[in-house]
C-alpha cells in the first residue's frame, strides 16, 4: 500500500503550454471560477494547476439581462454576456487586490474588434501576476463579432496574428464548437502563432418557458455546458489533435477523473474544469488525485504518456478524423 502510494507520488503531472509550466494539468475554466477567491475557502489552492480568470473587455460591460442561467438535462445554459468592469478598473482593483496563490493565473481576453483584443491583451499581459493569456474568441453570448471570430478561420487567424505581436507570454486561443470544421479554425490559429488551443467553449442553445411562451434566458440564446456536451467536446479535441501540433486544453463537461482521462486520451495536454466547480469546488483536486492513481496503477510515470493514445493505431481502418474510409 505505502509502496504503491510512494509510486503514485512520483507520478509527474506537470505539463507545459508554450512557456507556461503547470504543476497539475488542470485549469479552472474562465467564468466558472471567478477570480479564484470565491472558491478558495472550499478548495485546496495548492492542488490547482491554473485559474483562467473571467473574460475582460476594454470597456465595462453590464452583461445580459436576467435570467442568465437555465438548468438543462445534464447541463446548463448560460448567457452572462461578459459582465466585467473593463480593463482599467480590472487592473487597478480586481488584479491588484488579489491574494497571491500557488496556482498559475491566466488572463482571459474578450473583445468586439481585432484592435480591442490586441489592446486588452497588451495591457493584461504586461502585469507580472498574469502568467499567460487566453483569447476568448468564442463567447456565444455577445453580439455578432465575439463568436464570429472563432466561427471564421480567416478572422481567427487575423486576430491571433495581431495579438501574438503584443506579448511573449503563452497565448491560448479558445475555439468554438459551433462550426462546421473546427480543425480548420485550429490550423489557422496555430499558423498565426497560438501556443495552445482551448477546446471547446460552450455550444449554442436555447430553452423556452412553455407557460410564458418566452425564451428562458434574458438574452434568448445561451451557451450549453456540463456533461451533456462532453461527447461533442471529446470529438472536437480528437479532431483538433489530428490537425495541429500545439498543445490542447480539453474542456466540456468534465466532472470526474474518468471524464478528464477521455480528454487526455483524445489528445489534450491539460484539461479545464468549468461547470463542475458549481457542484463542488473540490472536484478539481479529486481529479488530480484520480489521475495520480490511474497513472500509478498502470506503472506510468507522467501524464504525457497517455496524451492522444486514442488517436494511435487507427492508420489502417480509420483515418485520424474518425470517419470510416
Amino acid at each position: 500500500m505505502s509502496g504503491s502510494q510512494a509510486a503514485y507520488a512520483a507520478v509527474d503531472l506537470s505539463v507545459k503550454l508554450g512557456t507556461l509550466e503547470l504543476a497539475y494539468p488542470t485549469l479552472m475554466g474562465s467564468g466558472c471560477y471567478g477570480s479564484g477567491e470565491e472558491f478558495a475557502p472550499f478548495a485546496d489552492p495548492a492542488k490547482i494547476g491554473g485559474v483562467v480568470l473571467k473574460s475582460v473587455t476594454q470597456r465595462p460591460r453590464l452583461g445580459n439581462r436576467a435570467p442568465r442561467l437555465v438548468a438543462t438535462p445534464s447541463g446548463m445554459l448560460n448567457a452572462i454576456g461578459l459582465q466585467n468592469p473593463g480593463i482599467d478598473w480590472y487592473l487597478e482593483h480586481d488584479l491588484a487586490e488579489r491574494v497571491p496563490r500557488p496556482w498559475k493565473t491566466i488572463g482571459s481576453v474578450a473583445g468586439f474588434s481585432v484592435d480591442e483584443y490586441a489592446y486588452v491583451t497588451q495591457r493584461l499581459a504586461a502585469q507580472p501576476e498574469i502568467d499567460a493569456i487566453e483569447l476568448n474568441v468564442s463567447c456565444p453570448n455577445v453580439a455578432a463579432e465575439g463568436e464570429t471570430f472563432a466561427c471564421d478561420p480567416k478572422l481567427t487567424g487575423r486576430v491571433v496574428r495581431l495579438v501574438r505581436d503584443t506579448t511573449e507570454k503563452t497565448l491560448i486561443v479558445k475555439l468554438s464548437p459551433n462550426v462546421t470544421d473546427i480543425a480548420a479554425v485550429a490550423r489557422e490559429a496555430e499558423d498565426a502563432g497560438a501556443d495552445a488551443l482551448a477546446v471547446i467553449n460552450t455550444v449554442r442553445g436555447m430553452a423556452i418557458d412553455v407557460d410564458t411562451w418566452r425564451p428562458r434566458l434574458g438574452n434568448v440564446t445561451g451557451g450549453l455546458s456540463g456533461p451533456a456536451i462532453r461527447p461533442i467536446a471529446v470529438l472536437a479535441v480528437y479532431e483538433v489533435a489530428c490537425a495541429v501540433k500545439i498543445p490542447i486544453v480539453g474542456q466540456g463537461g468534465i466532472e470526474t477523473v474518468t471524464d478528464a482521462l477521455e480528454f487526455f486520451l483524445a489528445g489534450a495536454t491539460a484539461v479545464s474544469i468549468g461547470t463542475a466547480n458549481f457542484i463542488d469546488p473540490r472536484i478539481p483536486e479529486r481529479i488530480v488525485e484520480g489521475l495520480r492513481a490511474y497513472l500509478g496503477e498502470r506503472g506510468l510515470l507522467s501524464i504525457g504518456q497517455i496524451v492522444g493514445q486514442a488517436n494511435r493505431g487507427f492508420a489502417g481502418a480509420h483515418r485520424c478524423e474518425g470517419r470510416e474510409g
Binding site: 470565491e38 472550499f42 470597456r59 452583461g63 446548463m76 473593463g86 482593483h93 466532472e255 466547480n277 458549481f278
Partner: protein, 275 residues
C-alpha cells in the same frame, strides 16, 4: 445590508431528522454545530446530496441552534427529490453560510414579516432574532391552500402574531398576502419578505406606497452560489451599498448595475432594486 464574513465552509454533516409538514414539503435537520454557530438570519446554504449525479441546491437556513441546522423545502424537481429521499443517518454535505442575510441592525420595534409559500423557510431565524430583541413581530403568511401553510404553530410558539391568506380561501383571507399587509395597523416600521417574485414585487409596491422600508430575500437560478459566475444577477441602483464594486457601463450613463443575488444578496432593500 450586511455582507457575508467568513467562515463559510463545506460541512460534512449527518441527517438527524426528517419530517413532512405537508405533502411535498420536507423539513430536514442535520448535525452541523459549526454552521449553526456562525449562521445569521436570512443566509442560505448549498446542499449536496451524497452519491449519484452530484448537484448543489440553494436552500434557506430554517433553523440553526446548538448542533443542529435545518432546511425546509418544497419537492419540485430532481434535486429536491434527491434531498427528500434522505433519512436520519444519511450523509449530506452543505456549503454555508452563504449570502448577506437580513439587516436587523437598526433596532426595529415593530416588524411585519411577509412569507409567500416556501419563502417561510428563510424567515424563522429573523423572527427569533427580532423577538429576542423584544420587537413586535407580525407574520403575514400566504400560500395556495391551507395545507401548505406549514409551521404556523412553530412561529406562534416563538411569540409572533400570525395573519394568513390562501389563494383558494381554504384558510384565512382569500387572496394575496400583500392584501393583508396593506391593511396592517399600526404601520410596522420595517418589512422583511421572502417568497415568489410576483409576491415580492407586490410587497415592494405596497411598502413603497405606505412609505415603509422593506428588505426582500430574492430567488434566482443559481449555478455556483458563491459569487463566482455572475449568473444570478438582479439590477440595482448603482449607488446602493450592495452594488458590486464595478463601474457602470459607460454607454448612456445608466444608474443601474447588476448585483449577484447569491453574493451581494439574497436580501436587498426594495427601494434599491431596479427590476
Amino acid at each position: 445590508m450586511l455582507t457575508n464574513q467568513m467562515p463559510t465552509a463545506v460541512h460534512a454533516t449527518t441527517v438527524l431528522d426528517r419530517t413532512e409538514p405537508a405533502p411535498g414539503i420536507v423539513l430536514l435537520g442535520f448535525y452541523a454545530p459549526e454552521l449553526a454557530a456562525v449562521t445569521r438570519p436570512g443566509q442560505f446554504l448549498m446542499a449536496i446530496p451524497p452519491g449519484g449525479e452530484r448537484t448543489a441546491t440553494a436552500l434557506g437556513i430554517y433553523e440553526a441552534q446548538d448542533h443542529r441546522v435545518a432546511v425546509l423545502f418544497f419537492v419540485c424537481g430532481p434535486r429536491t427529490r434527491e434531498l427528500a429521499g434522505l433519512r436520519a443517518g444519511d450523509g449530506l454535505e452543505v456549503t454555508g453560510p452563504l449570502g448577506n442575510g437580513f439587516d436587523l441592525s437598526g433596532s426595529p420595534r415593530d416588524v411585519a414579516v411577509v412569507a409567500g409559500g416556501i419563502g417561510i423557510a428563510s424567515l424563522l431565524l429573523p423572527v427569533q432574532a427580532l423577538i429576542a430583541s423584544s420587537a413586535r413581530v407580525r407574520l403575514y403568511y400566504g400560500a395556495r391552500s391551507a395545507a401548505l401553510l406549514v409551521e404556523r404553530d412553530r412561529f406562534a410558539a416563538e411569540g409572533c402574531e400570525i395573519y394568513c391568506a390562501t389563494d383558494d380561501g381554504s384558510y384565512g383571507r382569500r387572496g394575496f398576502v400583500t392584501g393583508l399587509l396593506a391593511g396592517a395597523e399600526p404601520r410596522p416600521d420595517l418589512v422583511l419578505a421572502c417568497g415568489p417574485t410576483p409576491m415580492l414585487r407586490a410587497t415592494a409596491a405596497a411598502c413603497s406606497a405606505l412609505g415603509i422600508p422593506a428588505q426582500l430575500s430574492l430567488e434566482e437560478t443559481f449555478a455556483c452560489g458563491v459569487g463566482g459566475c455572475w449568473g444570478c444577477v438582479v439590477p440595482i441602483d448603482r449607488n446602493s451599498a450592495q452594488a458590486p464594486r464595478f463601474p457602470g457601463p459607460d454607454e448612456g450613463g445608466s444608474d443601474t448595475v447588476n448585483a449577484r443575488v447569491c453574493k451581494e444578496g439574497p436580501v436587498f432593500w426594495a427601494h434599491e432594486l431596479r427590476w
